[in-house]
Amino acid sequence: MGGISVILTSTLVLGGLYLLMAAGLTLIWSNLRVFNFGHGALLMFGAYLTWTVLDATGLPLVVSLIGAITVMALIGAVYEFLLVSPFIRRPNGDMLVMVATLAATMLLQSGAQLIWGPQIRQLPQFGDTRVEIAGAVVQGTQLVTIVLAPLLVGLLALVLKRSGIGLTVRALEQNREHAQLLGIAPRRVYLFVVMAAVALATVAGALLGSMQFISPGMGSDPLLRAFVVLAFGGAGSLAGTIAGAYAIGLLEAVTTYYFGLSWSPVLVFLAMIVIMLVKPEGLLRTRVRSA
């Protein structure tokens, strides 16, 4: 029985992390029609910033995280202003945005190396609550991840559904021309979307930086998984992303448990190829959107 509960908890932890990443990516995708290749680097930057705020002020970890989120949201606004909006309207703009966000990844990674140096940092645990489920112990950051990730993404879904800005986001997503006719300015929506996505990535970064280590390259793995999640759940649908995140978490937990750490990404990627071949629009999605 131990095996199953270990798999289950790591599914929930991994799924939660991927959810935080993929929800932001999917939000950007459904509105801006681009993939943000810099999302992993933003996660990393958020983790470092949280560490800096914590280190410099000595405030509680959660407060430091909120401070880092605020700063990162501003960085997200700059990101949108410099990397997305100059290119998105140009012919072949999606490729330009993609290349620009790849360049941004390089900038952020080397920037982090310059600012924080080569030594590896780590955040303390988020709380020390300890829960035991069927022989598996879940505590600290893992527990927080399991609870917080669905909570935050649920909050995002609620904002999208109920609030005014959420309404404009969805309007733009569904029919760009019509939304503009109604006086919705895409730029403001883009800004909101990128800032929200960056905030979620920061939370993921802080959680990851507390469970593992903070390093300039820490974002690339979660980014790859988030891509697979999008392929699985169908980019552009929040419900599909939620299901996809936990499905990939489960797949990874199971394959890691039975085949080992180095084979798990290969198997996860194989699953992605098969899904893309069989159902390019995502397993959990019926409405096809041309890319």
């Binding site: 029609r33 681009v34 993939f35 290749f37 410099l82 990397l83 100059p86 290119f87 140009r90 012919p91 072949n92 703009g93 999606d94 490729m95 330009l96 993609m98 290349v99 620009a100 790849l102 360049a103 941004a104 990844t105 390089m106 900038l107 990674q109 080397s110 920037g111 190396q113 310059l114 760009r176 390259g217 690339s220 790859l224 891509f227 697979v228 999008l230 392929a231 980019a235 180095s262 084979w263 990404p265 290969v266 990627f269 992605m272 190829i273 893309m276 071949l277 390019p280 041309s290 890319a291």
Partner: protein
């Protein structure tokens, strides 16, 4: 004029390639020249898919690495003739490209970018997972050097490697030029600029994209093999993010969608990267910023700038009396539908 230029261009190019190592004889500059030929080959091959075909192919680094690892494994673990390992590496990269192409069958645009990016990153996991064959994180060391008869290619400031690289670069430049002028090349541009129209005229997207994808991968595999022999070492760094941005910088600085642009990009970026070799992380920052600045200010890169300068000079030479020729767009860019 254009006819004369077309006839003189290739011999001039060959003469420059032959003369360069004779002018620059110190080992460091020679090494730079070798790197330029290698990156030139790689950037040219990548530009086939990324620039001309408009496929969001981010797997090229993967093919490059697969070529390098194939050579590394063949040269250290089997008795295969060292020279024979070069074409074999090309073939193995081509086979890998068939796998990477699978998602392209049914995906479009940016999804392809996602899948191919994941593919090239996955190569790292595969190499680490197969540590028995690939040396895992230690890489493969002690790859024997190439030699021609009794002369090592390393002799005389690696001049042998330079000429091998120069021959490859020349051949690949011809290949790209021929390809882009062929019906295949034209159908690729048609697919890129207006896919519904192209397919309605009987162009098969999957077939044409597959052909150019596999050709590009083969060239990258050969370049990877060259890299393995040049360094004597192969490690997972070859798939790394640094290589990816370096090459993207070459292509976009030089001008994606232009035949010769990536070569110019390779020259500039290799020199810049070398000048900043001791600057650590600053080097990457400069390279990445270079990409962004080019994208902001000159989306057609050096090739676009050169073309517009040439056009304006030509217009001025023609004099005010004659009507200015309608300037041909540098590389056709069409207005994309916003869906």
């Amino acid at each position: 004029m254009p006819k004369l230029r077309g006839r003189l261009g290739w011999p001039a190019y060959a003469i420059v390639l032959v003369a360069l190592p004779l002018v620059f004889t110190d080992p460091h500059t020679r090494l730079l020249l070798i790197l330029i030929t290698m990156y030139g080959v790689l950037a040219l091959s990548w530009n086939l898919t990324l620039g001309f075909a408009g496929i969001f192919n981010f797997a090229q680094i993967g093919f490059f690495g697969i070529g390098a690892y194939t050579t590394g494994i063949l040269a250290t673990r089997t008795g295969v003739d060292l020279w024979l390992a070069i074409p074999i590496s090309g073939v193995s990269a081509m086979l890998a490209s068939l796998v990477a192409f699978l998602p392209v069958l049914r995906l479009r645009g940016i999804y392809v970018g996602l899948a191919t990016y994941v593919f090239s990153q996955l190569c790292i996991y595969l190499v680490l997972g197969q540590a028995g064959l690939t040396g895992g994180s230690n890489g493969i060391v002690g790859i024997p050097r190439l030699s021609l008869g009794d002369t090592s290619l390393r002799a005389d400031g690696r001049i042998g490697y330079y000429f091998l690289g120069a021959v490859l670069l020349f051949a690949v430049t011809v290949l790209v030029r021929v390809l882009t002028r062929s019906t295949l090349g034209m159908s690729l541009v048609a697919l890129r600029d207006n896919e519904p129209l192209a397919t309605s005229r009987g162009v098969s997207r999957v077939r044409q994209h597959l052909i150019v994808f596999v050709i590009g991968a083969g060239v990258a595999g050969v370049a990877g093999s060259f890299n393995a022999y040049l360094n004597g070492v192969v490690s997972t760094d070859i798939f790394g993010f640094g290589q990816l941005t370096l090459l993207l910088c070459m292509i976009f600085l030089g001008g994606s969608g232009s035949v010769y642009g990536p070569i110019a990009g390779a020259v500039v970026v290799t020199l810049v990267s070398d000048a900043l070799q001791d600057a650590g992380a600053w080097r990457d920052i400069v390279v990445a910023s270079l990409i962004l600045v080019v994208l902001w200010l000159a989306p057609k890169g050096l090739a676009g700038i050169a073309r517009s300068v040439l056009d304006s000079v030509r217009d001025r030479l023609r004099g005010p009396g004659e009507p200015a020729s309608p300037s041909v767009p540098a590389s056709s860019t069409t207005v994309k539908e916003t869906s």
